[in-house]
Symmetry: C2
């Protein structure tokens, strides 16, 4: 199997896992709040969630991109589901992709997606899926993905 190609980040930008230290400057929260409601997360709850994710690294891959000023400006999660079907196969689920609009035009969304697909390949997934709005289909096609179906939801 060919390794997934991943475009390079701009000079000084980095991709890394979310850590407990990301509570302080709030840039993780600011970037996620572009996507959806983040809500109030006190520091102990944030630390507990990071520990929960870190204790399950084979499942949770919460990633961020930082710019040359070391500020978080993009987010993305890959979590890995272990199935019975497909010979006991794994599926990667991409979630919570957000890029700060001030950083547009640098292909950071595409770079994040391709990195998450690469992690999924390394973890031995047979496919990666995500759900998006109709208006973002074109972007995910540029990332190498195809329409597979319809997302249905039930909200409490």
């Amino acid at each position: 199997m060919q390794p997934v190609s991943v475009p390079a980040l701009p000079q000084g930008y980095n991709l890394r896992r979310v850590g407990k230290e990301d509570f302080q400057d709030k840039n993780l929260f600011k970037t996620l709040s572009i996507l959806t409601t983040v809500g109030d997360i006190p520091e102990p709850k944030f630390h507990a969630l990071i520990e929960y994710w870190n204790d399950r690294k084979e499942i949770y891959n919460p990633m961020v991109i930082t710019n040359a000023e070391n500020v978080i400006i993009a987010t993305g999660m890959l979590f890995v589901e272990h199935k019975l079907i497909h010979g006991g196969g794994k599926v990667g689920h991409i979630e919570d992709i957000s890029v700060n609009p001030s950083e547009q035009g640098k292909k950071l969304g595409l770079i994040m997606i391709r990195n998450l697909i690469q992690i999924a390949q390394t973890e031995g997934c047979y496919k990666v899926i995500l759900d998006c709005d109709e208006k973002n289909v074109r972007f995910y096609e540029k990332c190498g993905m195809k329409i597979e179906g319809v997302e249905m939801g039930y909200r409490f």
Copy 2:
């Protein structure tokens, strides 16, 4: 919040978690193979997966419905993702829904879905999502779900 309503199973039918004993009669595999490729799973690999799921019960809820002859005739998985967004909220993902065609007309698919939604509610999820083919949208609407978006995929 109102508890989710769940229709009753037919007399003698039961909903339960998948267990190691389900390797023997192969009815779990037969039911899943209606949905997709199951592939070859040797018994030790099956047992290891059941242990993996059982060690992570707050994430994996692999459920089956058995008929009056104690034969597995429907499958469904709910797995629970712990997020940072929505105040550190949880999302339930429904996967691998399959019902044996010989049992059609008993609303087993709907009963499975409503049970998985109920588990998600008990686990404190703020929403439940699943991906399906266009042709199954009407069925999931009958289960109380709504179209939320487009599923995109990347296959290795």
